[in-house]
Structures are given as C-alpha cells and as structure tokens.
Amino acid sequence: MKAQPSPESHIVNSGSEDSAARLHSDADPHGRLFTLGLTLAGIAGLLLLWWIGGELIARNPATASFSDFAPLPALKRLAAMFASSEVIHMTGPSLLRIAAGLLWAIVIGVPAGILIGRSRIARELTNVPFQFLRMISPLAWMPVAVLAFATWDRAIIFLVGVAAVWPILFSTAAGVRRIDPAWLKVARNLGANPRQLLTSVIFPAISQDILTGIRLALGVAWIVLVPAEYLGVKSGLGYAINDARDTLEYDRLAATVLVIGMIGFTLDLALQKLIQRLSWLRHD
C-alpha cells in the first residue's frame, strides 16, 4: 500500500531501486515464460477439477441428470451463446445496473470519504454507525429495497450501491489521511484557495486510493449483483441463472457461471491496469 509520503523514503530512494527491479524483470524473459506457464497450469487445474466433478456427477445415478454441468457441454453451450449474441443480451442489463450502482457509490462515497479524512469531528461521529452498517450484508436490505423503490431495477441498483459505497468511502478517507500536510502548506502559501486545494492537491494525491476503492467495490458489487437479480427482474445474469435452473438447462447454467466469472475478472483486470497507469507512486 501507499507509504507515508516522506520524500526521503520514496521520492529520493525508491526511484532507483524500482527501476533496478524493473530492469531486472525485463532482462529476464525466462521469468516471464515461467509465470505464463504457471498461469496456464492453474487454469488447466481448474478445468481438470471441473471435469472430475462432472464425471462424478454423471456416474452417480442420483445426480446424473445434472451431468450437463460438465466442461464439455458447458463450453459448447457457451460458444453457441456467444454466436447467438445471447451473452450480450444477458450481460448488458447487468452491466448497466453495476454501472449505475457504482456511480451512486462514487458520488456518495468520495465526498463523504474526503470529509471523514479531513475532519476529526466527522470521523468520530460516523465511525461506529458506519462500521456497524458496513457489516450488514447488502442482501439483508433486499426486503427494504423492494418496499422503498418503485421498480425492481432501482432496488437492485440500490443494493449494488450499498455494497459498493463502503470500500470507496473508507479507501478515500484513508488516502486523505495519508496526504502529506506539507503539500497543503505549500499550496496555501502559493495562494491556493480551498477549491484549488481540492482539485490540485487532494484529488491528485488520493486518485489511486479512490481507484483502489472502486476496484474493491466492483468486486463486492459484482458478487451482490447476481443474487440481487434473482429479484423480480426478467433480465441480467442473475435472472439467466435462475431461468436456466427452472428450465433444467444445466449446460446453460454452467455457461452463465463462466460468463459471470469472465466478465468480473476482465473488469477487475482493466481497473488494475488503469490504477497502474495513473499511479504516480514509484514503488509498491
């Protein structure tokens, strides 16, 4: 994570150490091949476990009707779903809900996090209530959400937002507390007004913390989304899972599970790359 920004500890020293480390890994193609090999072996291992599970299910007369859950039928079905653009139809609504929920979480979490990071009063006032609320599974709010919102869609967006707001809020607040007070002093001395302190010091200083919060939030939001879509709605990945179960199409169910995993993985990787690109810290 981010260290206390003291010039001695990172601005001066780490640059050289870091570039040395980078040079080392660049100059070592065997290391990269090795990493790639291990990654592929890991994926193969997962497929193997899945295949063994499928075999066991198929051989047991009590569970044989679920045998389409195995890799081969599932992957075949997945290819068909991609070809018929069923994948797009089923993920589009889910992605929209995630985006809306995350947006709300950012709009509420970032300013609240800055306030809590900056003001001791706000921090102490909200500490217990927020830690308490954070520990409640967003899904526990489901009945409340259903009552409070006019449409199923909005209820789901609310649940996603409730799940996503905490990581963003706490990560932002932690980032603000790590801001070097000297940066603010320098900026004030050079004539920065409060708005400029925010845009020229606080936001750039905590940009990575916000993005890290969003990355964590995306993880929980994605996990909450599927069960939330078991509610009322007739679209999205959660609905697709439920629907496949009801129609006993276990190959479709397994293929949908694959889609959920792949999209979650891709979104997380994209955010991780974005954080790396925007990062101004020279070590980590």
Partner: protein, 282 residues
Amino acid sequence: MTNTSASVEGKFPGWHAPVTGHVRGAEIRVTGLTHRYRHAKENALQDINLRIASGEAAAIIGRSGCGKSTLLHIIAGLVKPSVGEVTINGLVIRHPSPRWVMMFQQPSLFPWASVADNVALGLRFNGRQSEAKSRVAELLDLVELGSYASRNVQDLSGGQQQRVALARSLALSPEALLLDEPFSALDTFTRSTMQRDVRRIARELGITLVLVTHDINEAALMSDRAFIMAAHPGRIRNEVTVRSADTLTGAPGFEQAQRALIEAYEGAAGRSISSPSTDWTI
C-alpha cells in the same frame, strides 16, 4: 517588475543590470509578538520585536525548540499569533500570501507532476497559467535545471528537488523568502552550492531573506545580520551583524562573523564560550 530601487543599489555597490523578476524586497516588522500553541503550558514565543530591512538577509539561530519555525510560520501568515502583529511593507499579515514564500527542509514537491508543473504551481493558483511557459523556462535556467522541465520530480536528486522548490517559490516574484532549514537534508557539497546560489539569487532579485538555521557557518555565509533566540519561552536574546556580502569560508571576515555568532549563541544557550572551529554546527 524592473524596479531599480535606490536602497538595493546603495546596499550593494556595483549592482547593475536588473534581472527579470527584480522586486523591492519586503520590509518585515514584528511587534510585541507572543504565541502560545493550543494546550501548551508555556509560550512558544514571548514578546518578539524585530525589523528586517528591504533586501536584507537575516538569520534566526538558536537551539532546537526555541521557536524559530513558529516565528517563521507566523511571519508567513501560516500561523496566527496569540498576541502582537507582523507587518510586511506596512501591511498587517493575516493570511499566507505568495508575496512571501516559505521554503522547508523537505522540498515537498507534488510527486504526480512534472518539474515544470511544480514550478508553475503558484502561477496556476493565481490565474497566471498563460505566463507559465516562458516564466518556468526562465526559472529553471536560474536554478540550473533547464533540461529537466518535463521530468517527473521523483527522478531528481535531493539537491535538484530543493532547486525545483526554490524555482517554485520564485515563480511569483516574491518580496521575501522565508527559509526554514532548507538545506539541512542535503549533503555538504550540494548544501554549500545551494547556500551560495540562494544568496546570489536573492541579492540579484532584491528579495528579503529570512533564514532559520542550526548551522552557524550557514548564518555566517548567508546573512547580513543574525538574531539569536533563547528557549523557554522563545525570545530574541541577541543580534549580531554579519554582513556576509562576498565572504567565503576561511576569509577573515567570515571567521570574525563566525566567532561573534558562536559567542552570542553560547551566551543565549547559557553555556561557557568554547574555542570556535571552522565546522562548528549545533
């Protein structure tokens, strides 16, 4: 900005050719200043009175905790005093202003920005971004970092970073530079170069210097006059005229100034006078 004031020329005979950004240095007066931090048991500063002339280089020396940084922060308008006031050019200081800029032990550059963007910070805060291009190039030349404009500040050495901080401080043509041990984190060689450069630049531009330091040599090298502070509560004990203009380590004027400073310092600290040596630091 090319205000060739008589006082500067009088002070430094042979001074010609105004450098761009030449200003009339701030005249700083501190009157009846007493300061106590919240929850503190004693005053950090007690009844401070001093006057620093336009274009003068004043050093403030004294042992750790005697209130040097507090005094400088109050002069900069970054801390509000409990009693008394600071005026600069007759104006009572209530807020920080880019017309009197503080420099700290750490350069505290913004690590997410390039050298040029760091130097242009003050211009941007004051709606003068349009001047940045020419002004930044000029300032980077002044601190001999002309070819570093687009580099990230994290790639620079400690001394180079402190030069960027100096350029950043000079961007808005301040009338005073308030330096809080700005070279103490640098190695000896870099430090002496910086001491000479800051003194030269301040003199060329007519900027008033207030230098807080632990280092007697630094005070002897860089200042015209030194205030010696004593602690508990922080107050000014003594004042020594140094007149450092063009003194070099080893020159007779330097040693004389050094001896006078050590005597005054030890007097304030309540110690007996020891024999001075050339690398006498506290």
